[in-house]
Symmetry: C2
Subunit: 187 residues, 2 copies
């Protein structure tokens, strides 16, 4: 099983982001990622199925969103439940701003990775809708609230990782949600 | 250049949907599509780059949405402009319900086609946001209104192609929009 390496996953993630940024995603090999991290390929494959999974594997997002939704009071209107879940998740992400910014730059430079990101976001929206249905929210309300929530999250996230932006993610999420409310109210 | 074949594009589309439904997308060849339509492969390739383009090429959606948005009065609130564009596009689609239903069944049965569909929907959302910015709508309002519009469209579309649903698409779009307004208002 190999010996335990302190914070192997985090070191591999850092090394992969460094190399993807320097050489591009396609030109980087798993061997090079492991070497840069001072670890073996074998250790890499204990943590990730392939180099793409460094960018898309085991996101804390989905779990955090669904857990927060399932834990909230059943009486809250769906949009408030979604907003609370987004804010809770945003708190978790706050410390990963620099990683998130670098990850996004790599994805934005690569068509296939952009497609993978779209699929991931669509699956998050489905997971949110499913969690709302578990709370007894009927369709199409559940799907609309989930889609609205993901739209808010996407727009807040883009602003958050922007170099010049210094606002916190939870604050940006609240702003985007207020903006969406104004938009749908016809303002 | 070959002789002109009456309604070749429509015949190829019908033949392709028949064969995709009977044999599956992967097992169907361009040769078989052309044969079923009583046309040559050469004629097929004058209309489509490959068999996937029968499902995703030259959608009337994007053009209709953007044209309607560009033509509307600049003074309308963004969400009303989007709603008007969606309704205008829905009128065009009305006659294609059976084709749309069969197309969707083929896509729903095939992971790679579902991914292609997500990419198409994301590009529609970008096109809507861009058209709103041309009307002077600022960010993030333009992106939020576009995302909200696409959420409404997707949900109305799924209900429309449902076998048991007999409502018109424009009506379903209006219903979904009203529902989104209620959701974001916290009802």
């Amino acid at each position: 099983m190999g010996r335990w390496e302190p914070n192997a996953r985090g070191r591999l993630e850092q090394a992969a982001l460094d190399l993807f940024g320097e050489r591009g995603f396609d030109a980087t090999t798993v061997k090079e990622i492991a070497e840069r991290a001072g670890l073996t390929e074998r250790t890499f494959f204990r943590h990730f199925a392939d180099k793409r999974e460094v960018l898309f594997g085991s996101s804390p997002l989905r779990e955090s969103l669904v857990t927060a939704l399932d834990a909230g009071p059943d009486t809250a209107p769906p949009i408030d439940a979604i907003a609370a879940a987004l804010r809770a998740t945003a708190e978790l992400l706050q410390e990963r701003r620099e990683l998130a910014r670098r990850r996004q730059a790599i994805i934005d430079a690569h068509t296939e990775l952009q497609e993978r990101e779209l699929i991931k976001l669509a699956s998050l929206s489905s997971a949110l809708a499913e969690a709302l249905r578990r709370r007894g929210v009927a369709e199409p309300t559940a799907s609309l609230a989930a889609e609205a929530g993901m739209a808010v999250f996407k727009i807040a996230f883009v602003r958050w990782i922007n170099e010049t932006n210094r606002q916190d993610l939870p604050e940006l999420i609240q702003n985007a949600l207020d903006e969406l409310k104004a938009v749908t109210a016809g303002k």
